[in-house]
């Protein structure tokens, strides 16, 4: 399945756009997406860290993704 990953902050620069499309197996987990993203965008490994959010909530590594999910990459936050 193809999932669309929203990007913010520095991730937008790394994706060179406000989202990226990633190919995943059916039943792929958040960890699988993380691996696929780091493979496609090696600069992500230089970040202090990054989280993934699914449907506006921080996601755990073994959460299973579905194509209709709203997925976002969350680089280190710095609001306030």
């Amino acid at each position: 399945m193809k999932v669309n990953v929203l990007a913010f902050g520095i991730a937008k620069e790394i994706f060179n756009g406000s989202s990226a499309e990633i190919d995943l197996n059916e039943e792929a987990t958040v960890s699988d997406l993380r691996t696929a993203l780091e493979e496609k965008y090696p600069r992500l490994k230089q970040l202090a860290s990054f989280m993934l959010a699914v449907n506006n909530e921080y996601a755990e590594g073994n959460d299973i993704l579905q194509q209709r999910d709203e997925i976002a990459i969350i680089p280190p936050v710095s609001g306030g």
Binding site: I10, L47, A72, V77, G79
Partner: protein, 138 residues
């Protein structure tokens, strides 16, 4: 009562304070973040804040709810601004009203400390020689 807002327009301190005032409250603590003219000794020209708005509102709501669980507070307001801000402008206002001041102080400080860790908002600092996304790199 909880009031959460993300806006591109300038935040209004007085409106925020009026909102939290209540005859049942004896103490109000207000935190106002302002854009500082320097960071680590380097002159800052302006800032830019970007939010993942739907999720940020949800996380801000959670913080306010946690404040109600942890302390005896009556009103919690969290306003965050996005877009380009000049030095001296206000990116964030947190206001907490409680019957007793200790709860207001504790909750206000908890909210700003935790907001900086969990709420998906990003700050970009502009210097004379370039710009940087704060905290992005180790």
């Amino acid at each position: 009562m909880i009031e959460i807002k993300i806006s591109e327009k300038p935040l209004q301190t007085s409106t925020c304070i009026e909102w939290v005032m209540s005859p049942a409250c004896g103490g109000i603590d207000v935190f106002i973040g302002t854009v500082r003219n320097a960071t680590k000794g380097k002159q800052v020209l302006r800032l830019e804040f970007e939010a993942y708005e739907a999720m940020a509102l949800k996380e801000m709501q959670k913080l306010a709810e946690q404040a109600f669980e942890k302390w005896d507070v009556q009103k919690v307001l969290i306003h965050h601004r996005t877009g380009v801000l000049q030095v001296g402008e206000v990116p964030v206002i947190i206001a907490v009203a409680a019957a007793h001041r200790a709860a207001a102080f504790d909750a206000c400080r908890y909210i700003i400390d935790t907001l900086k860790e969990t709420v998906p908002i990003w700050k970009r600092e502009f210097f004379e020689d370039g710009d940087v996304w704060v905290a992005a790199h180790p």
